[in-house]
Amino acid sequence: MFEVLENETLAPALHRMVLRAPRIAAARRPGQFVIVRRAEGAERIPLTIGDADEAAGTLTLFVQAIGAGTRDIVAVPPGGCLRDVAGPLGQPTHIENWGRVTCVGGGVGTAVLYPLAKALAAAGNRVTTIIGGRSAPLVILEKELADFSAEVRVTTEDGSRGRQGFVTHELTELMADSATCPRAVFAIGPVPMMRAVAELTRPTAIPTLVSLNPIMIDGTGMCGGCRVMIGSEARFACVDGPEFDGHQVDFQSLADRLTMYRDHEAQCRVGLQP
């Protein structure tokens, strides 16, 4: 049993939850995730570790309630318990000082991006962050990201906040000027967004890292359900990922496989984005 210490609503259906899991808090590195099972009979749901406090023995998760499983999780009040929390899973992000990097977050993918951007800034990078969403309430963590980003650019599709349009417009702008063009790009969000970013950086071969969210079960490489095509090779996102070279990812097959249980409401994915 893992006790929930805090549960706060950040945006409609987006919760920030803090739970006690000392071993995971001590072992985790940015980019890793946990698998959570709310109760007996519930699904195993992968969730990125947003932050951790080793001294306090706590983990912070950003959970968007998009299906029955995640709705169940965010319904647990402080003092309540999650039956199972296993991790940290996946490979930590390879953090280095590139000099100038751009972090791109779409929707709740921004929550997944947060620990990564923070680690990149801590490593000495000048981080420009671009976050976007359909409309203002879906743009999250702007303040938190601003704490360590040199600049935070916001876009919404309906123009209700920041510039109207897509995150890729901002990235195109940054890339056009040699003074702002990033040495590496980190993109986390819906599959079409990550694919668009990867296409944008492909011609100039700017290293581009994306974080994939296939359906998972065990998270330990045992079932193969999370396989994704990287180049011509099948890789398991739970052990080899979840981050991969965006220029190598077969986004089509990923997007396709994510619809495997579309008739079944509850889904089980890394990251949180629809």
């Binding site: 195993r44 296993a86 940290p88 330990t220 097959s253 496989r257 509850a266 089980c268």
Partner: protein
């Protein structure tokens, strides 16, 4: 009673038939297929044993259960005695009585098999174990030994880990099992289906260990949550029994279409998560009307029979050799046939074919014929030219097998592995790291429950010796 029968009279008794659930009914439910013998049936079958001095059956058993002795006690109706003997040698008899391949182990060695059918040792083992579980709780509750003060970590809660843990706890050590998943049993729980091994049996065996003082902690992945190095610092010795949980991929086009599962994923969804089995399970599964399972082992049989139970109209085994070459237990093949499973033999998959939406629609296949024997001694299948055909399917399950999962071993460069990634150990289970022992599938590659248990038992003895030295 019958106990003073002459050898001739014993030879005159016919081998018992296991009562089974009706084949049509059971092909649509998850209840256990084999119903178990009655006391009369079990005692009569036990009478067939000639109690020969040479005890060849014992040599055929990887954990050397005192078979003639427990069978003789059963024949005399002395069930408590029989149970004590059996449980003294085998930590999980109710499991082994159900899933061991007796036909190639103890029963293969039975002298009665030379002329006629061997004694049904597996059925008798199951009978005695079930009887003990139902009637002799007190027998199973062992008194706790004097604590030694030594602490042991066991990685993995499958048959290897459970056996090692039990043996070590019985010697008075403080044992803690770390399990990556949220539940116990390893393959017994996530792989082998309810209709072959009811989960209540695993629960009962695990509860017995808990009463012995074994502490089981789930959701701890060694190599991730804690490292092997941390375990070595915090415990006096470590046993690794983390299994062979890494699916071998098909490596043919179309493997990523929607509807293609590895056997591990398919079985885990149904067995561990309860998908399709219990209404309260939130985990989804594609049921499939035409399900093609690739492979010929126990895992393939478990998948195909599960597919039938989830409602498949056609549930097919696709195997590149012939039926007699299939590695699955004879009983599973027989049961699968009775349940309406189709056997598409001498057929190799070429590609999984999809529709425009990315869903599986068929398996492209090629007919094979058997040529010269290969390294394994089995005749090698060779393609028949011009024989390609399509098998309509909406779910394809890959049951080609598993390999060693590198999650733990990759984090410990000093732990010596063989070229397939299995941990190298000596006959006693000692690895290249002092105080670290290993056994089961992580050492052998995909093997059997009883071999994993034998490893756990031997390693526990070696660990005892090691702890005496340090």
């Amino acid at each position: 009673m019958l106990n003073n029968l002459s050898a001739k009279e014993r030879l005159g008794i016919e081998r018992v038939k296991m009562p089974e659930q009706d084949a049509i009914a059971r092909s649509r439910n998850f209840a256990e297929v084999n119903l178990g013998l009655t006391l009369e049936q079990a005692m009569r079958e036990a009478q067939r044993c000639l109690a020969c001095k040479s005890r060849p059956c014992v040599a055929g058993c990887p954990v050397e259960v005192a078979i003639p002795e427990f069978v003789t006690a059963l024949a005399a109706g002395e069930l408590t005695v029989a149970a004590r003997i059996l449980m003294g040698d085998n930590a999980l008899p109710a499991v082994c009585g159900r899933v061991c391949p007796q036909e190639v182990q103890c029963e293969a060695k039975c002298v009665r098999g030379a002329r006629g059918l061997p004694v049904a040792i597996g059925y008798l083992e199951r009978f005695v174990a079930d009887w003990a579980m139902a009637n002799a709780e007190d027998l199973a509750v062992e008194s706790r030994p004097v604590p030694t003060g030594k602490q042991i970590a066991v990685v993995g809660c499958g048959p290897a880990g459970l056996t090692a843990a039990g043996e070590l706890a019985r010697r008075g050590h403080e044992v803690r099992i770390f399990e990556a998943l949220h539940d116990t049993g390893g393959v017994l729980r996530y792989g082998i289906p309810e209709f072959r091994l009811p989960k209540a049996i695993i629960d009962a065996e695990v509860a017995r260990l808990s009463r012995l003082g074994v502490d089981i902690e789930c959701n701890v992945i060694i190599g991730k949550t804690l490292t092997l190095g941390q375990l070595r610092e915090q415990f006096d010795a470590v046993f690794i029994g983390n299994g062979a949980g890494l699916p071998v991929m098909l490596g043919i086009p179309g493997e990523n279409l929607k509807g293609v599962y590895s056997a591990n994923e398919y079985l885990t969804r149904v067995n561990l998560m309860g998908a399709g089995q219990f209404a309260e399970s939130a985990t989804p599964i594609l049921r499939g009307r035409n399900v093609a399972v690739i492979g010929g082992g126990n895992t393939a049989m478990d998948c195909v029979r599960t597919a039938r139970r989830l409602g498949a109209e056609r549930a097919m085994i696709v195997y590149r050799r012939g039926e007699s070459e299939m590695p699955a237990r004879v009983e599973e093949i027989h049961h699968a046939k009775e349940e309406g499973v189709e056997f598409v033999m001498l057929t190799a998959p070429l590609a999984v074919l999809g529709d425009t939406q990315g869903w599986v629609r068929a398996l492209a296949c090629q007919a094979m014929e058997l040529g010269e024997p290969d390294a394994s001694g089995r005749r090698r299948p060779v393609p028949v030219s011009g024989s390609a055909f399509e098998l309509p399917a909406d779910v394809v399950i890959n049951a080609l097998g598993t390999r060693a999962n590198p999650l733990l071993t990759a984090t410990e460069p000093d732990l010596k592995l063989n070229r397939w990634g299995n941990i190298e150990s000596d006959a006693q289970g000692a690895t290249s790291l002092p105080g670290v022992f290993a056994g089961g599938d992580i050492v052998r590659g995909g093997a059997t429950v009883i071999l994993a248990m034998g490893d756990g038992k031997r390693a526990a003895a070696a660990m005892e010796a090691y702890l005496g030295q340090v």
